[in-house]
């Protein structure tokens, strides 16, 4: 089976229906065999939806084909969450804010440093990943509680029930962002080609850059808060050839949502941290396998 056939199959409605069945199965299994509640499942669903926003932005934002784990945003956000959680406050909203601020600072830093090169982002991602692991180890060795570190790595907002109003609010935000992407798809494509191309549309590149930074940081913060690093499989969606369409987008969300549910399911039967480590490894492996897909002839 050649790559074209695989892509056609991946894009077909049948594949999406099958994936929806798989996803439904993983949700049912999570509800039946773990202590995960409907509310928590909803949070994971929200994280999956926002992973789609990041996938879309990865295309618009200079074509950087790495997801939020590899690019270091997840690590920077979790590092910020650790600092606030263990030193300042356990309030979920305060932690969410700290995650968002960490991601914004990280984005500003990485844009200054990397000039949008994926390789630079990967290297900084490794560094921040190592720093987060070291910080986690330090906290655990000093008696801060393994379960809290695990919660921060797998979505701290899912560790307790709070404000169900967040779900409709975030769904509305997602709907707005998704609609905006559909309406402004050509403007986003123009933005992805760099400043001189974007200016030809008569737009301000600086303002657009800030807008993309804002949307990207909010989306990453939501994913980190609701799924930690568990949505790292979104790299799979990023590396596959992009074809616009609702089916394709649905597939991305279903793949990420299923993956999170499978991870949660496995966590119920084994060590939580080892599942998180496995998820991170899978994320990197997917990236390295996909990285060979494009070449300049």
């Amino acid at each position: 089976m050649n790559s074209n056939t695989i892509n056609e199959l991946y894009d077909s409605p049948l594949a999406v229906y099958l994936m929806a069945l798989v996803c439904g199965g993983t949700v049912a299994a999570s509800l039946m065999y773990t202590h995960v509640s409907y509310l928590q499942i909803s949070y994971y669903c929200i994280a999956s939806l926002f992973s789609l926003v990041l996938v879309k932005l990865a295309r618009a934002d200079s074509g950087v084909r790495i997801d939020y784990v590899q690019s270091g945003e997840a690590w920077a956000g979790i590092l910020g969450a650790m600092i606030v959680f263990f030193l300042i406050s356990e309030n979920r909203y305060v932690i969410f804010f700290s995650v968002w601020v960490s991601v914004v600072l990280y984005e500003l830093y990485i844009h200054q440093l990397s000039r949008d090169r994926s390789s630079d982002r990967l290297m900084v991602g490794y560094a921040f990943g190592a720093m987060t692991v070291m910080a986690g180890l330090y906290l655990v060795l000093n008696g801060f509680g393994l379960e809290n570190v695990s919660a921060l790595l797998s979505g701290f907002c899912c560790s307790e029930h709070h404000g169900a109003w967040i779900i409709p609010a975030l769904l509305l935000l997602f709907a707005l962002l998704y609609a905006a992407e559909r309406f402004f798809v050509h403007e986003l494509l123009l933005y992805s080609q760099g400043e001189h191309f974007f200016l030809s549309g008569g737009f301000s590149y600086g303002k657009m850059k800030l807008l993309v930074l804002f949307v990207r940081s909010i989306s990453a913060a939501v994913m980190i808060s609701f799924s930690g690093v568990l949505a790292g499989v979104s790299a799979l969606s990023i590396m596959l050839p992009e074809k616009r369409g609702f089916m394709r987008d649905a597939m991305t969300v279903l793949v990420v949502f299923s993956f999170i549910n499978i991870a949660v399911l496995v966590m119920a039967f084994t060590e939580v941290l080892s599942v998180i480590a496995a998820v991170v490894v899978i994320s990197y492996v997917l990236h390295f396998l996909g990285g060979r897909g494009t070449a300049n002839g």
């Binding site: 074509g63 992805s192 549309g201 494009t294």
Partner: protein
């Protein structure tokens, strides 16, 4: 009309342009030639407003280039020489981007936009690769796409820096035809810099020779003489005439 009036430019400690004066008329295809570092690309960069740090005046349709709004500037001037950042874009999507200066926000591309894109896809033979990603194409095909992009924009002034770079023979012929059509109706101007004297001789209506930031010679294709090439390029050549149009064919003797 496009006018350069006493245009000078200093880059670091070096004067890259020195009191350049030139006027380009609608319907003209003008080539800029000269050794590397003679100021060809700087001239194009200034005309496209990529470089803003210069003295003198550059007028496009009697208006200073600095006075154009972003959108109006890109309608008036297109510069072939900038490479896109996202090479994962498909050829057709990339080419559509050339019409963005004319597209209204929230409106789709017009029938005319799509027609211009299709015409140039045909003109440059891009049909078979229209759905391919830019990053998967050969260097020649990518340059052909960039050329098509420039023509799709339909700007008043088309600037091209070394347009034949990476192009294979078939693509060069397609480019020549497209350039001839572009300015043919007398409404638009093509200004290109090139190191390929044969291409220049066959394509340009007028040739500007640059040396050390100054235009030192200007004229039609008949200024390409062995003495001129020797003087400004330091190369001895033999020049014959093209049997179809009488324009110069330059023959080099690397062994001499």
């Amino acid at each position: 009309m496009v006018e350069f009036r006493d245009v000078s430019c200093v880059f670091g400690a070096r004067k890259t342009l020195s009191a350049v004066n030139a006027a380009l008329n609608p319907g003209e295809t003008v080539a800029v030639i000269g050794k590397g570092g003679s100021g060809k690309t700087v001239l194009l960069n200034i005309a496209s407003r990529i470089m803003r740090n210069f003295s003198g005046d550059v007028l496009i349709r009697h208006r200073p280039v600095q006075s154009y709004s972003r959108r109006d500037l890109y309608r008036a001037v297109t510069f072939l020489g900038m490479t896109p950042r996202n090479m994962e874009e498909t050829v057709i999507n990339f080419l559509l981007m050339a019409r963005m200066p004319y597209k209204k926000l929230l409106n789709p591309f017009t029938e005319y936009d799509l027609q211009v894109v299709e015409e140039n896809i045909d003109a440059f033979g891009l049909g078979p690769i229209r759905d391919e990603q830019l990053g998967t194409l050969s260097a020649s095909a990518v340059q052909r796409v960039y050329c098509a992009f420039s023509f799709i924009r339909e700007s008043y002034l088309l600037l091209m820096d070394n347009p034949t770079r990476d192009l294979d023979l078939e693509s060069i012929v397609l480019l020549q035809k497209a350039m001839a059509r572009y300015a043919f109706d007398g409404k638009r101007i093509v200004l290109f810099a090139s190191n390929d004297l044969n291409f220049v001789a066959q394509t340009a209506d007028r040739i500007l020779v640059m040396e050390e930031g100054r235009i030192v010679l200007s004229g039609a294709y008949d200024i390409i003489e062995p003495e001129m090439v020797k003087k400004y390029f330091g190369v001895e050549v033999f020049i014959s005439r093209n049997i179809f149009n009488g324009k110069p064919n330059i023959h080099y003797f690397p062994e001499s």
